[in-house]
Symmetry: D2
Subunit: 337 residues, 4 copies
């Protein structure tokens, strides 16, 4: 249940309104937007007489029931687009932000060369995996803590903010210098990890799980936001279906739907979605056209020798060309590129 | 196995080359393109010594083995894009062609009003279902033959070519005045029907089945082309997955992949894919961006009262706005709109 | 809406009751069971005052609304299990009936050898494909009409009733001597074909489509029954999922659920479901344990040389062993084997 | 690559053989079975001359390449069935072991009442969730540490060993008294957690993820076993498909296949697979018939008031009846029940 407050509602009255509900056993979400300020109640609201509350509370303009289970991430509660700022980059709202870099950090030279290059092409954030979730225990598991050090150096040299995947909550301190903490697809419903990153004061990139519905993705975001961190970026990266010609099936309708249902920014990962280099550019353009707020793309200085996911990585020149293509389209889509 | 012929190969030598292979029990596909002319062999080619044939046949430039099971629709055999002409409309190549109209033809007034309107907005082909495949035997099954008559009248009034779905091979004569015969998703592997429309001299719109792979779609197209009809338009319309918030999951990567693998035009149906009106415009734009050759869209003069699929139909004004949006993007995608 | 009639309701009163509803525009299904006799209304029953009808009609014992879209196949309308008799075989009720034979009829010798053998092992019905739906137009398409002739000979020699797949409605006369007409998975929603076999006076084996829900299977059965043919056997044969190690994913929960929801017999095809010979026996036993009314199994005298689906066919000895295993379990499951 | 050693191979020669390979950079798995003793090499074995090794090493009987990525859990390496002993219970081999209890531990009274009852019915292990993974942050998250205490009491009273789900690696000490640590479906690819439970000296119950293939399940088991813990029990609990009438689709073919590919015991969870109480008994029987080594079943003393998953829980009487049914079938399946 959400109450939209009158524009001139006094702060102390709002505080009292909230305190009253919490005393009755409800949790509350307090949301201030440009259009309106709202108070959202979590709990068993079935027996509340909505009209009565509206009629008897002078600071309340109107109220409505939210049937969706997600409250804090619901656009009904927070009409404005959430914009997340990281260093010089902004994600959400009118921006179209590209994160790029290798699947896996391999060496200091590799990551800095790639960082300089993708920055020149227009990427605003550097991606790079230090801890890699791999199906096989015998496959390369990433450079681990050392990889994070290499990322730090690339950041010093290029001033690009960093995004990298965290694997479990014991690693949180290790990620101190990582600007955006990524929750991978396999961890989308690792609820304890969600609660932990919900206590951080930095953005979280939350990838949709391979077999998770749009609603479940929003519920996982709700875990993070309701734990205190409202800087969540959603990421569509393909779902698992019967089709085998692509690695996964990219669900671009989900992007358009997420933008309707939630105020959070939504980006797309065309690299993992397809698993095929030649499909990355068309899918990247389609993602922009469908309304995504950005992309996360695998780019490598030598895809043929990449330790991980080479077949889906663009080389630096291909990445540059794609960025040129996207820049042209950003104009028509009214996006700040 | 495909043999690319030398540019100056004499017709009688080509005929003899083909006749020789057919005598040995192979079927052949003869394909003339702007770049090259090719002869493709169907059959057990495992024991053919490719080098020997190339070296001993003076009209052959080079040869290659095709591992894919689809031959006639394979871009390796026919490098140029197939362009299909229907009345004043062209589908494939540099064109971006929109087919629009109601899910179901309901009355003469309805279909002609819609036809005039979508034509003014820029649609090049009128869609309308006369025979409707419905899950329930108790649901509206379409206006049947009478619906085809109504379509004919709308065509006379607007000169828009028609596309409509055929349900089985006994209806072929009924569809004489329908310019493009549509094979619905549920009939994609109705192989006898594919063979029958393969004997027609008119284009066939072949929709991907709900649970069919990209390769199976190409194999179904191969049924039609190998039966003698090379005017096939492929249509991606969403596949069935675990996601329930949308009617189906639109697989736009399939569009980009189909364009790589085959020379046939590929269009997208964002209406059936999503089942939700507000998702049709973003998905339509994404389809153009990913490289589709056109769209088939449900538009209705009164969606709220539509006898079928009202929730996913645009009204005529919404359709008009979408066409304006697409027209702007066609410039940047270098498409003739 | 279904009305359960009083045990002693007079025939002329029932006829009048039905006629009255039909005059009001409803279709009716009249169902006589051992427990009760029912009249089911099809149409917009929302405005009918159920209590009023029950109170004012002396032949009606009680009534209830059915929310499911399937009526004629609904167990609510017809509580008793439907039992279908073909030659000496019975399917449904307390029987467990095995249909066996090759994927494809290949020669008179092949089919008769297999027929004699599977009969000796306890199979009650002979399966064999004459028309084969194949993904590729270049694959073996079955022996066609000639294959039906071979089946006829095998029937004469063994007295086993026949089941074989029909591909389209123009073939109905060809299938005159086939005892059970099979609708394959790809044709489960070929609604015109369903209507045609709904006019036959013989049993129809309806296979679940690869991407069709349990409810859609029941709705397709409803097409057949509401067209006049209540001898429908449902068949679970695996659905398409992301798993690639098996050909399809056998959904045995569907079998138990279908038995609850409908009075029709349900059999299982473990051969197509798995695509792997060694999985056929365990899945066959599981099908019996879950409550299926029978099986349809591929058995071949020489699987290594089968023209179709050899990898999933049991040889005749393996089939015999499996039947022994099933016979033992039939006792504990209280089935007539 | 696996080397089967000669029966009389001297221990010191085996040690040297293993040491030599490890010096060359391979990991090894040493496996002693009743039939044979094997040494399996992990690493890039492509360049090893298999025949040469066999011919020049006197303790080696023969060798073979394993193409599967899973080695330690592969039946090729370890032909015998792994049998896991917990208290008086044994899982695997000829045993059929039922684990039962509530979805969630709710109170000391609830869990002890259920424990006594399921023990009397024949359950050998008590299940009960203390930490519950829930899609919504607002849903009941389990009794947490207090729930583990309640389980401990139930164990003291009944001597039933315990199985309960661990959520992350920081909880490992909390689970000291839990006999079998369960990895839930959502954590199947939480690789860091797998490595941690791989260091434990107690059995791990590993559930298949909602969207994970059979091969991925085996690879996750490989993480545990290659970390040092070979007591892994696999659990099939349904996969996510397009079907919505059941909660998931139980893949019983996977059970039969897992038993062929691996030596680990495989159990089935019919409660979560179906989500429907009335489907639990038929699926449980089918699981036994298909070759499972046991079941994990939700049973509750008052399903209507269960805090979690009441709709799929059997009441104690229903559980008792099911156990009676299973006991009868165990005889015919030659299982120790």
């Amino acid at each position: 249940m959400v109450f939209i407050l009158k524009p001139n509602a006094a702060k102390e009255k709002i505080d009292k309104f909230i305190a009253d509900w919490e005393q009755k056993g409800f949790s509350t979400i307090y949301s201030v937007g440009t259009e309106h300020t709202a108070v959202c109640l979590i709990g068993n609201t079935a027996e509340i007489d909505l009209d009565h509350v509206v009629n008897t509370t002078d600071i309340v303009d109107y109220g409505k029931r939210i049937t969706e289970q997600y409250k804090a991430v619901n656009r009904t509660v927070h009409e404005d687009n959430t914009i997340i700022n990281v260093g010089c980059a902004s994600i959400g709202g009118g921006f179209f932000t590209v994160m790029a870099g290798p699947c896996s950090v391999e060496s200091r030279e590799q990551i800095t060369e790639i960082a300089h290059s993708v920055k020149k092409s227009g990427a605003k954030i550097l991606r790079g995996g230090a801890f890699k979730p791999r199906t096989s225990p015998y496959a390369f598991q990433g450079k681990q803590a050392e990889g994070l050090d290499m990322l730090r150096i690339a950041k010093q040299e290029t001033e690009l903010p960093l995004v990298s995947e965290i694997m479990n909550q014991t690693q949180i301190e290790l990620f101190e210098d990582i600007d955006i903490v990524q929750i991978g697809a396999r961890n989308m419903q690792n609820f304890d990890l969600l609660k932990e990153v919900g206590k951080l004061k930095k953005p979280v990139l939350l990838k949709r799980g391979l077999a998770n519905t749009i609603e479940e993705l929003l519920m996982s975001a709700e875990y993070i936001v309701s734990s205190g961190n409202d800087q969540v970026i959603l990421c569509e990266r393909g779902i698992r279906t019967f089709e085998t010609m692509t690695r996964n099936t990219l669900d671009l309708a989900a992007v358009a739907l997420l933008k309707q249902k939630s105020h959070l920014p939504v980006i797309v990962d065309p690299s993992h979605a397809s698993g095929i280099r030649s499909l990355v550019p068309p899918l990247a353009k389609a993602a922009m056209a469908v309304g995504a707020d950005g992309l996360i793309i695998e780019a490598h200085n030598n895809p043929a020798k990449a330790l991980c996911d080479g077949a889906q990585s663009l080389d630096l020149e291909q990445f540059h060309s794609l960025m040129e293509e996207l820049r042209k389209r950003a104009v028509i889509e009214s996006k700040i590129f």
